[in-house]
Symmetry: C2
Subunit: 231 residues, 2 copies
DNA sequence: TTAGTACTTATGTACTACATATAAAAATAG
DNA sequence: CTATTTTTATATGTAGTACATAAGTACTAA
């Protein structure tokens, strides 16, 4: 019969649980623009009655919203609407081991795109102090060929670049992407060498132009761009 | 006494709920590298007993993990480890209305950084078909000065650019950032006009070089970069 | 007025009971 | 003896009750 064949091919329609629906309804409710941060929400009893579900189910949905940082609940006081930490939930999920190669590749590329696009912000925001710190980073351990040192310096240098942008979200994002990058780089083709070192990049950032920096960064990242082809 | 004053200044140490702790413990458990996607997890009863909490609390934690896409549960079968949709939780939280101006600005900048960094991928991945589509987009409604049309075309054009990269994550990310961008642009200073139009960018993408494209994009985005100063 | 107490109330946790779906086992038909 | 159907066992899904805990609120006393 066809039924057995069909069952393999056709995923059954995902019957959402009550908690799923309640979560959705609550999010819609919270997004009503009349509501603003700090506003008090109805009590769990009121919500569960209004939605026609048990307090149990309601709390499973609320639990999600609390995790996302959309609401906070204090005893006796009730629940209040809060502004979420937009990257918090991202962090919980970013485990390279659980990612399919496609996503892994996408995130690897995303990082390259970010790095290539930093130039403008860098040249607007850089200070003499920043340059000094970068110089310290590239000088520090210049002759260390140890792999651990190499990676540490790599992270410190590129991390500092993100820091110079003054964009916390960007910086946090980069930190979160580090494990992904690290994971991918285990297969790196070491034969491809870049002609532009960190030292060169610092020099360009100090005395050069945006355009030169972009070209420099492209060359610096060339081994990674090459890697994309085999991924 | 000082206590009343203190209470205002010092936030009390956030006493995590059991659900918070269970969530953490479960995430640690799931991240053990022995576990791989598709693996069956212990039953709710076993987990709640092992952790020493009620099934209720356990389910609140599980509810979060299910939302993140870390686990799926089927009746009778039990729960299985799944690979999460890394951007799913991001989507639930990205409401410009709930963001402080600082985060809003950061995301606005993030988009600019991405756009400035696209060039390399674009020049690697572009096809004749892509160029044709871009040409269609810029031609279509060239003489429309209607605001709605302008925005639609804007979205279509830049969206297509992301699409050309072939990077789904990047593309989805861009779509999610649209409301933010839109929200910020309400305060845009229309007096600053760019000298590079979409048409120019398409021409460069077709016949020019990466370097030219970056310069062109910079000029194209100049009104937005200017906007950053007042934000 | 102020410090301290009791009261009230909303969230946090535990436990029980049952509904529901479904994998697995048993029974039945061919 | 294989294939199909029926039954059974079991893990998740939902509801409801009970009580613990913290924190506003009102009341009391010095």
């Amino acid at each position: 019969m066809l039924t057995t064949e069909l069952k393999k091919d056709l995923e059954p329609i995902s019957v959402n649980t009550r908690a799923d629906m309640v979560e959705l309804r609550l999010r819609e409710y919270l997004n009503k623009k009349e509501l603003k941060t700090g506003d008090l929400l109805p009590t769990e009893m009121e919500l569960s009655e209004a939605l026609g579900v048990s307090r149990n189910v309601l709390r499973e949905a609320l639990s999600r919203l609390r995790m996302l940082g959309l609401v906070e609940s204090k005893k006796k006081r009730g629940m209040v609407l809060t502004n979420p930490d937009i990257l918090g939930s991202f962090e919980r999920v970013l485990n390279p081991q659980r990612m399919d190669t496609s996503t892994l590749k996408n995130l690897f590329e995303l990082r390259l795109v970010l790095e290539m696009g930093l130039a403008d912000l860098l040249f607007v925001r850089k200070t003499a102090k920043d340059i000094k710190e970068l110089e310290a980073i590239v000088k520090n351990g210049k002759f260390e060929d140890d792999d651990v040192f190499r990676v540490t310096r790599e992270i410190a240098f590129h991390g500092k670049l993100y820091e110079i942008t003054g964009n916390d979200t960007l910086k946090r994002f980069q930190i979160m992407l580090l494990p992904v990058f690290d994971y991918v780089l285990k297969n790196e083709n070491r034969s491809v060498k870049s002609n532009i070192s960190h030292t060169d990049l610092v020099r360009i950032l100090k005395n050069g132009t945006k355009e030169e920096f972009v070209v420099g960064m492209r060359e610096h990242l060339r081994p990674h761009f090459e890697l994309l082809k085999n991924l």
